[in-house]
């Protein structure tokens, strides 16, 4: 049986009926990783022994009558999420030896629910990128075409779900890092509303927009995962206090739902991609939704604002990475022994351990926040962020959700854009706006162009992730794009 093609609910049924044991399911995926991952290289670490231990525990719980839905379900976590006792590297040389001293809250919650952690997924170094090419270790490949990128920065997580190496994965999304690769790899990826999932144990990048989110084969699967990982956490005082049931409205009819579309965004796409978006709109119309043209005139400033805010927060958050505290120079008596003082050690460690994109962003942020430039750059960017947020607020008085493309094109070839930072930044042109406004954004597969997947993005008001999940689920009840799998044999 092809267990990687089955939904969480159906797998849970099989496990509960004892038609399949958690250990067998775990071994099924570990075997798939062994056979298939050498071609696409999605995993930085695989925890075979630990995974089997967790699977055996899950089997004991099932036998004892525990009916939790994620019990025994195998997953991967992006390698910027801390897992106690295991290497958590953020795909950076700076942390290649770093052992996480504690579990992130999401990992703790998934452990309690009985989900089985298979290992850690590859990513752009410190989540800086849109292609997973900036990983210090290796480049992950798109399972649909291994000469192309899976997208980024959660490329490893997304490619693993797409290739059936796990049932679901965790990623993080700051400006598009779950949604864009989900579009490139033909899977469903949710960037939850900002603050709805605890960031405790997520390596901080852009603290004002970072969110951990789930990646899976369907909206229904995403909603089950959200019910476990989301919710207030006293270790993350920015986390949202009210509890939300993400499954509650998922099967609601779309009759009367108003969806906003942005004609200029569709017109900016190449013909075959514009066709995919237009056909998706027709699907929503056939489900009873009303379509309304809207305008997001501040969207073109989202990228420039984001690429001031992100580097600024990065430059501050990464000051802790001195190469001393997190394992980089555990042998610095050999490495840095000819440095006379602390300042020299910082310069050498950081110069050596960070990749080019990370250095660019740290320097941009340092520059933007420095005396004389703070008002001109950072404060202006925050003012623009507020304008973008207000524009979305205004739009949501007229519509319940917005439907736009996720990315401007299908997956590009490896190496095609790596030397052009600005071109890479423009990958996020449709995903950054919702990030800055803290809104929920979900990318689902909506079609193929040149045999490559292309996604659409559904956005709604803050904390109305249930609306985006509902729309996505109804779309998936009428289409089959989310049930297509790449041929990796």
């Amino acid at each position: 049986m092809e267990y990687h093609k089955i939904s969480i609910k159906d797998l849970s049924d099989l496990l509960q009926k004892r038609e399949l044991s958690s250990l067998d399911l775990c071994n099924y995926f570990l075997d798939r990783i062994k056979r298939i991952d050498p071609k696409i290289k999605t995993c930085i670490s695989v925890f075979e022994d630990e995974a089997r231990k967790q699977a055996v525990l899950a089997d004991e719980r099932i036998l004892a009558g525990d009916k939790s839905l994620l019990l025994g379900i195998p997953y991967l976590a992006k390698d910027n999420i801390l897992c106690q006792g295991f290497k958590t590297t953020a795909a950076s040389k700076m942390l290649e030896n770093y052992i996480a001293p504690y579990d992130a809250t999401v990992i703790k919650r998934l452990k309690e629910s009985g989900a089985v952690l298979l290992g850690k997924a590859n990513m752009d170094e410190f989540a800086h990128g849109s292609s997973t090419e900036t990983s210090s270790f290796f480049i992950s490949k798109n399972p649909w075409d291994v000469e192309r990128v899976p997208g980024g920065s959660s490329g490893g997580s997304v490619a693993a779900v797409s290739a059936g190496l796990c049932v679901f994965a965790l990623g993080s999304d700051t400006g598009g890092s779950i949604r864009q690769p989900a579009s490139f790899c033909g899977v469903s990826g949710l960037k939850p509303s900002y603050s709805s999932v605890s960031r405790y144990g997520l390596m901080a990048m852009t603290s004002s927009t970072d969110v951990i989110g789930p990646i899976a084969k369907s909206a229904k699967d995403l909603s089950l995962i959200m019910n476990v990982i989301a919710g207030f956490d006293e270790n993350d005082l920015s986390s949202f206090k009210q509890s939300i049931d993400y499954c509650q409205n998922i099967d609601n009819s779309l009759k009367g739902i108003k969806i906003g579309i942005v004609p200029e965004f569709i017109d900016s796409l190449e013909d075959s991609l514009a066709k995919i978006v237009k056909e998706s709109i027709s699907v929503f119309e056939s489900l009873g939704a009303q379509i309304k043209n809207i305008s997001l005139k501040y969207n073109k400033y989202a990228g420039p604002a984001y690429y001031i805010i992100t580097p600024s927060e990065v430059s501050s958050n990464f000051a802790r990475l001195d190469g001393i505290r997190y394992g980089f120079s555990f042998d610095y008596k050999a490495k840095g022994s000819n440095s006379e003082n602390l300042n020299e050690i910082y310069l050498k460690n950081r110069g050596e351990a960070f990749g080019p994109e990370v250095k660019r962003r740290i320097m941009l942020g340092t520059y933007a926040l420095s005396s004389g430039y703070y008002d001109a750059y950072y404060k202006k960017a925050i003012a623009v962020k507020n304008l973008i947020k207000k524009e979305f607020d205004g739009v949501f008085e007229e519509v319940d959700a917005i439907l736009i493309p996720t990315s401007p094109d299908v997956a590009f070839k490896i190496g095609e854009q790596i030397d052009d930072p600005v071109k890479m930044y423009l990958e996020d042109i449709f995903t950054i706006g919702p990030s800055l406004a803290g809104l929920p954004g979900l990318s689902i597969p909506a079609g193929f162009s040149k045999d490559l997947p292309f996604g659409i993005q559904i956005i709604s008001k803050k904390f109305r992730d249930d609306i985006v999940l509902n729309l996505a689920n109804q779309f998936q009840s009428k289409t089959e794009f989310h049930q297509k799998f790449p041929n990796l044999n």
């Binding site: 996480a100 073109k300 400033y301 840095g336 020299e344 050690i345 910082y346 950081r350 003012a383």
Partner: protein, 96 residues
């Protein structure tokens, strides 16, 4: 806006990043194109009032000023990754 190698050198020093000469050249060029991209924000007329009157969407969240116990395994895992320890503290090179 053009950024030259010397400015990159100064920014790098501020950011505590040691760069090679090749890196400084490369980043100077890339910086300039990134700043052009960012400077499209100048198209927008944002008043100084709009900048000064920025409100945060968050209220400060405080907890009581009490020390919280750190589990021993967490402490050990954290400390033992430093290159040199003395008296349960991380030892570093001299500051001055």
């Amino acid at each position: 806006m053009e950024i030259n190698k010397d400015q990159i050198e100064k920014i790098a020093q501020l950011a505590k990043l040691e760069l090679s000469e090749v890196e400084k050249e490369k980043y100077a060029k890339q910086f300039s194109s990134i700043l052009s991209f960012i400077e499209t924000l100048n198209e927008l007329n944002i008043s100084s009032d709009e900048i000064l009157g920025l409100e945060s969407e968050f209220d400060n969240q405080l907890r009581s000023d009490e020390s919280v116990v750190c589990h021993e395994d967490v402490r050990n895992l954290s400390l033992n990754q430093a290159p040199e320890i003395e008296n349960n503290q991380i030892k570093v090179k001299r500051v001055l």
